[in-house]
Symmetry: C2
Subunit: 833 residues, 2 copies
Amino acid sequence: MATAPDTTHATPTAPGWQPRPDSAPLATATLERIDKWWRAANYLSVGQIYLLANPLLATPLDRDDVKPRLLGHWGTTPGLNFLYAHMNRAITERDVDAIYITGPGHGGPGLVANSYLEGTYTETYSDITQDTEGLRRLFRQFSFPGGIPSHVAPETPGSIHEGGELGYALSHAYGAAFDNPDLLVLAVVGDGEAETGPLATSWHSNKFVNPATDGVVLPVLHLNGYKIANPTVLARIGDDELHDLMRGYGHTPYEFVAGFDDEDHVSIHGRYAALLDEVLDEIVAIKARAAAGDTTRPMWPMIIFRTPKGWTCPEIIDGKKAEDSWRAHQVPLASARDTPEHLQVLADWLASYGAQELFDDEGRLDADVAALAPSGKKRMSASPHANGGALLRDLRLPDFRDFAVDVPAPGGSIAESTKVLGQWLTEVIRLNPENFRIFGPDETASNRLQAVFAETDKVWNASLIEGADTDEHLSPSGRVVEMLSEHQCQGWLEGYLLTGRHGLFNCYEAFIHIIDSMLNQHAKWLKVTREIPWRQPIGSLNYLLSSHVWRQDHNGFSHQDPGFIDHVVNKKPEVVRVYLPPDANTLLSTYDHCLRSRDYVNVVVAGKQPAPQFLTMDQAVAHCTRGLGIWEWAGTETDGEEPDVVLACAGDVPTVETLAAADLLRRHVPDLAVRVVNVVDLMRLMDSTEHPHGLSSRDFDGIFTTDKPVIFAYHGYPWLIHRLTYRRTNHGNLHVRGYKEEGTTTTPFDMVMLNDLDRYKLVIDTIDRVPGLAARYAGLRQRMEDKRIEAREYTRTHGEDLPEVADWVWPDAGDLADAGSVRATAATGGDNE
Amino acid sequence: MATAPDTTHATPTAPGWQPRPDSAPLATATLERIDKWWRAANYLSVGQIYLLANPLLATPLDRDDVKPRLLGHWGTTPGLNFLYAHMNRAITERDVDAIYITGPGHGGPGLVANSYLEGTYTETYSDITQDTEGLRRLFRQFSFPGGIPSHVAPETPGSIHEGGELGYALSHAYGAAFDNPDLLVLAVVGDGEAETGPLATSWHSNKFVNPATDGVVLPVLHLNGYKIANPTVLARIGDDELHDLMRGYGHTPYEFVAGFDDEDHVSIHGRYAALLDEVLDEIVAIKARAAAGDTTRPMWPMIIFRTPKGWTCPEIIDGKKAEDSWRAHQVPLASARDTPEHLQVLADWLASYGAQELFDDEGRLDADVAALAPSGKKRMSASPHANGGALLRDLRLPDFRDFAVDVPAPGGSIAESTKVLGQWLTEVIRLNPENFRIFGPDETASNRLQAVFAETDKVWNASLIEGADTDEHLSPSGRVVEMLSEHQCQGWLEGYLLTGRHGLFNCYEAFIHIIDSMLNQHAKWLKVTREIPWRQPIGSLNYLLSSHVWRQDHNGFSHQDPGFIDHVVNKKPEVVRVYLPPDANTLLSTYDHCLRSRDYVNVVVAGKQPAPQFLTMDQAVAHCTRGLGIWEWAGTETDGEEPDVVLACAGDVPTVETLAAADLLRRHVPDLAVRVVNVVDLMRLMDSTEHPHGLSSRDFDGIFTTDKPVIFAYHGYPWLIHRLTYRRTNHGNLHVRGYKEEGTTTTPFDMVMLNDLDRYKLVIDTIDRVPGLAARYAGLRQRMEDKRIEAREYTRTHGEDLPEVADWVWPDAGDLADAGSVRATAATGGDNE
C-alpha cells in the first residue's frame, strides 16, 4: 500500500524556498563585503596552518612566530571559504535553513575560520575569544598537540561530516535532506573525492528524494584540478564530457570558472552571486512545483566550481608552480622557517589579505564584514541540524510484546525471525512517519522484512511503468530506501542519524564488509563526540545482518563472511554492541533496545529462515536483559552440583545444533550433567573492566565454571570467542566451533558439518573433552561419526538433508503440528542475489 | 623520465584487430546457428537449475526429475548466453583473442552451459561427457551438495571473475587488458551491479589505458531492468540521461533493444550481429590509429543491451509477470514440483527451446551448432588469459642486497624504509617492462616510492596541460597506475594478477579497509583455486601499507586504523601472510620474498618516515628467514640463563620504543636480564598446526620462555597478539601494548604515549611485572611517570617532541653523524591527504 505523499511541510510559503526578494544585481558594497569575508576566512586559514603567535602581524613576522611543524591542508581551503561566504549572503537574503557538507574535509582550517567569523566558534569554545589573544589561540591550537585535528571533525561546529576518508559527501548530504523539507544542504564534492566509487554512484541519490517532503541537496563539484600528486580525472575530460556526465547523473550543470586570470575580485563575486541566485531560484521553482503536487523528478541544478587549487597562495615557490597545482595540496610553503627569503614569502602572502582592513587593533572583526553572517541558528556553523542530537525525538515504539511468537514449549513453534521483526517494524514506521527509515541494498524483502510494505513503499523517483505489476511498492514517499549500493545505504543512514533521526540498515551479512571503512569513521565520530559536551547524543547506527553465513544455499562460499563482528569489536568498547538473538522473540526484544539506544553501533545478526522458537516473550526479555544465561530446560544439571560440561552457543544456527547435541547427550549419556548456555549479547563475554556490558570474573566463572570443558558453538570465526575470553579463569578449557572458511555446499546441515559445527561433532567434542567419557562411550562416538557420514551421503544422493536432521525438534516441544514445516519452507532456500 | 610507448605488439596486422573480412550481412544460416547456440545454452541453463534426471526429456517430465531444492539465478542468464553466442561468431570471423567477464556472476548456469557447448567443460571435467549421461551429470551437479556453486566461480572454465559481490566487472576487465595489446575483454555489467560505487567509478578506467599497448575492454551494460526486488536506476532514467551518462564516462553508446515484442529471433540476431560488427570495426579503427602512433584517448564504444530479465522464460506465472520482471531474478518457477500444472509449465518452458533439434538421441550437440565455437584457445572458456597462472612468467628481480642501507652498527644510520624500497622497485620496473605494475590511490609519492618516477610514469590518458610543470610523470605508458579509488586499484591489480602478471598495491594503512570485502573475495578465490588442479598458481596479491597508524601527524584520528591485519588473518591460513619489517633492509628482503611468491595475500606494513636502521643486509636476510628472532645485541641476557623479561616487538615504531626501553633498562636496572625479540612475520606467532609459518610449541617456548613476563609492543590492536598466541604455554604472562583507538595528537611520541606504547610505559610495565622489581625500583618507576608528564608538557608548549626522545639513538649506534636528522626530516610530518 502506498502512503499518500505528505506535503504538509512544503508549502510555497516555507521560509527559504522563496525567489530572491530583489532581482537587481548585487550592490558593489555587498560584493565587497563578501570579498572581505573571503579574505578574512583565507587569512584565518593560513594563520592556523602557519602561525604560533603574532596573529595579526602587529610586529614583522619572525621565524619564531611560525609553527615548528607545519601540518594541514591549504589547497581546497580558499575554495571552501569562497563558497561559504556566498552562501551566507544567500541565506540571509532568502532566510533559508542550510548546512554545509565539506567533502574535501581536509580543508579543516576553512570551516573553523568561517565558524569563528560567524561567532559560533567563540560561543562554543569560550577561550577562543574575538580578539587578538583569541586569534592567537585559534591559530596555535590547529594541528598542535592538545589542540584540534587538521580536518573538519566532530570538534568543528556545523559539521556532520568528518574529513579523512573521502567519498561520502553526497550520501551524507542526502541523508541529511531526507524528511527535512525546509533544509538546503550545500554539498561540496572534491574532484579527487569524485574519483572514489561511493561518490561516483552517490550522484544518483537524486532518484530517491521527494521534492515535496525532502530537503534539497545542492552539489558543488569543487574542480580545482589536482589531488595529492596528480591531476584529477574530472578536470581533464573536457567540458563536454563533464557536462554530459552531470546530465547523465540527472543534474543541470552550471559551470563557474574563476581565478585563472586577472579578473578583479568584485567582478568574480558578482558573477558567482548571480549564478548562485539563478540556481537557487531554479530550486525554488522546483519546490513550488512540488508543493503544487508535481513531485516528478526534476533535473536538479548543480554547480561546477572550477578554480585554482590553493587559490590566492603564492603563484610560484622556489621556481615551481604552487597556486593551481598539486603542490598546494598540503602546506605549499613548508620551508617557511628555513630561510629569511621563505619567511618573507609567507609574510607577503599573509599581508596580501589586508587583515588590517578586516580586524581592528584589538583583533575584532570589522562590523560590516561580520554583518554578512546570518543570525543565530541560520548560521551554518550553528545549525541544530549539524548537532542532530539536539533535534532528536524519541521514537514512538509499539510494544514489541504484542508481536511475540507463541512458544508453547521450548522448540514448540516455527518462525522466521526477521519476518516477525518486520511486523513490528511496520508499526514503527506507522507511528513515526517522519523520523524513521529503513535502508537496504535491494534486500529488504529478501531479508524477509516485507511486512513493512503493507504500511509503506520503497522511495523511488525515477520513472515507473504505468500499471505494471513489476513496480510494486514504489513511490516518492516510501520509508524504505533501497539502492544496490551498501555505501549509499550506510552514507544515507549516517546522514539521517547525524541530523537527529533514527533508522536501520538491513544487509546480507557477508557484504556489510563493503562499508567496513565507513563504520570505522562513524565509530570514531561517536567516540569523539561522546567527549564533546555540546554534541548531543544521536540515534544509534543499527544493523540487521541477515542472509547470514550459515544459510547461503543459493549462493555459497562467496556470500559467507561473518567477520564484520570481528571488525566492529576492535572499535571503542563504549560505542559498540553485538547481538546474536537465537529466535524471533529475542530478536524483537533486542531490536526494541537498539532503537531506544543512543550513540552506539548496534550489530544484530539474525536468520531469516524458518527455525524453531525457544523462548516465550517473558523469557526472551529476561534472557536479553541478562545478555547471556543458562537454559536450564535444555540441560541436565542438578541444583547444588557443578555440571560436567558446558555447551555454550551464540547465534541462531549454533543454538539449534547445540540443543540437538544436548538432546543426543541426554538420550545417550544420561548420567552426564550438561549445562546449556546461550549468549545473545556477545560483549557479555568480555571482562567488566574492558567493556561496559562485560561480566565480572565471578559471574563468568559461575556460569562457565572454573574447570569444566566448555564446548562453544559460535556463529562466526571461532578465534573471536578466544579473543573475548582469553583472560577468563576457565579459558584453557574453552573449545570453540565456528566458521572456518569452508563453505561450498548447498544444504543447511551439510554446511554446518563442513565447518564441524554440527550436533554430532559437538557430541564428539563432549566425549573427547569430558574426562572419563572417551573409553565408556567409544561406541557412541563412532555412531556419531557414522551419522555424519550418513548425513553427507544422503545429501549427495537426495540433494536434501537427512530427514531426521531436518525434522529434528526439541523433545519437549510438545505437539508441534508444524514440525515438518522447517524443512518444507526451507526447501526453496533463501532469496539471495 | 617518460619511457617511450612500446608499440611493438600493436601492429595493424595483429590478429583480432582486423575489420570484418566480409562486409556483407550475415547469412540466414549463420543467424540460425547463433540462435540454436543461444537456445542450447538457455536449455542447458534451465536444465541446470531444475533437472535432476531425464535431461533431454526422453520421457515426459516427471516430478522426480525436478530437483528437490531449486537454487540458482535465471534472470540474467539468457542475456549472458545471447552475448556469448554472438561473441563466438565474431571471434571466429576475426580471429580475435577474447575473454568474457561476467559482472552478473550469479548467471553461473549460463557460463557453464557455454563452456559445455564449447567442449571445454568436458575437457576440464572428464566425467561431464558430451552425451545424455554427461548432460544428466551437468544438470545434477549444479548447486547440489558435492557439486558446483551456483555462481560463476573458480570452478568455471574461462572465468577470472567470481560471482558473488557485485561491482568489479570493469576493474577486473581493465586489469586483464593492461599490457595485453591483442586481448579483447567483453565485460558484461549488470544494471544492478551498475548501482554500486566501485562500478560507477570504474567506467573512468578508460583514462588509464594505452590504445597501443593495452588490450580493449568492450563494456556491455546488461540493462534487463530489474534487481532482486526492484527496478534498476539506469533502466529508469530514460535514454537521454543514460546516453549522456555513458558519453560523460568517455564512451560512445550503442543501444540494442530486443525481446519486448514478437520480432523473430533471426531478425533479432541479425540486428545484434550488425551492431557488434559496427562496434568491433570501430575498435579496429582505434587500434589502427594507435598503431600508427596516435594514442590520444578515443571515445571507446560500449553497448547498452536492453532486453527482458529472464528472457524466454514463461511470460506469466500464477497470474504475475515473470519474464521481464524481478520475479525472474532467481528461480522464476519455484513451485515446479508443487502441482502438475506447475510441472507442465516447466515442461513447456523446456520444450520451447526445441532441444531435439539441438542434441541428437545420444545427447550430442548438433555439429552445425557446435561449429559456432571458436577453436582451441580462442574459445573464451579455454583462454589461457583466464587461467593466468598458465601464462605467468617469473619476475626478473634485481638483487635486493645491492640496495641495502649501510648499517655500521645497530641504530647506526637513518633511512626512510619505503623510499629505499622504491629504489629497488625502480629496477624491478626496468627489468619487467610488460608484466609488473604498481597501483595506488594517488599515494605512491606520498608513500615515498617516488624513485620509480626516474624510470617510469603514471599512466594517464586524459588530457595534459602542455608544458605545465604540474603534469609531471604522466604518460599513457606509465607503469604506475593511480586513481583516487582504492576499489579501482584493488580491482585492476586483481585483474592483472588473475591474467598472469605481477604487481603491488601501495596504500595508506587506514584506508585499505575500503577494500576489505574485495580482499575477502580474492582470498576465497585463491583458497578454492588451490584445490583445483587445472588452475595454475598466480602472482600473489601484495600490499604495501604505509602512512600507518603511528605517524598521522597531518591527519590524526580519522586516518588511524591498523585493523586490516585482523581482517586478513581471518582468511584461510594457507593463503595469508603478514609482515612488519622493522627497517629498510628487512623491508627489502621481505618484498623480494613477496614478489617471488604465488597464490598468497601478502600484507606488508612499513613506515615512510626517517627512522633508525638496525640490521645489516646479512642480518636482515637471516632475521626475515627466521621470521622472528632474538636481537642479542639489544638484550642483556647471558648464555646458559633464562632472561628475567622478554621485550617483544612487531612493527617499526614499536621496535624503536622497545629498543629505547631496553636502553633505559640497561642503564637503570643493570642486573636485569632482558631479552629483546623482534617479529617480522606475524604468522610465526601462530601454532605450527594452525599456520604453515607457525612456530612449534618448543620453538615458541624457547624464545618467549614458559614463565617469564613478556612485554609485547605491537603495531596494531593488541588483542590480535592474544588471538594468535592464546594456546601458548606462556600466554598467561603475555602483556601486549598496541593501538587502542586513542589518537588525536600530532607529534610521534605524544601519539605512542596516548596509546601507552611508549618506552617509559614499557619500562614501567617491566617493573610492574618482573617479580621483585616493584619495591626496588619504585623511584625509577616514578621517574618514568614523570618523564611521560614532562614529554607531554613539552609538546603542549613547543609543538614538538622532547629532544631527548626525538634524538634518541641506540647507545651502540656509534658516531651517528645523522642522528639529528630523524627529528629534522620528520619535522614537516608526512605527505598525507
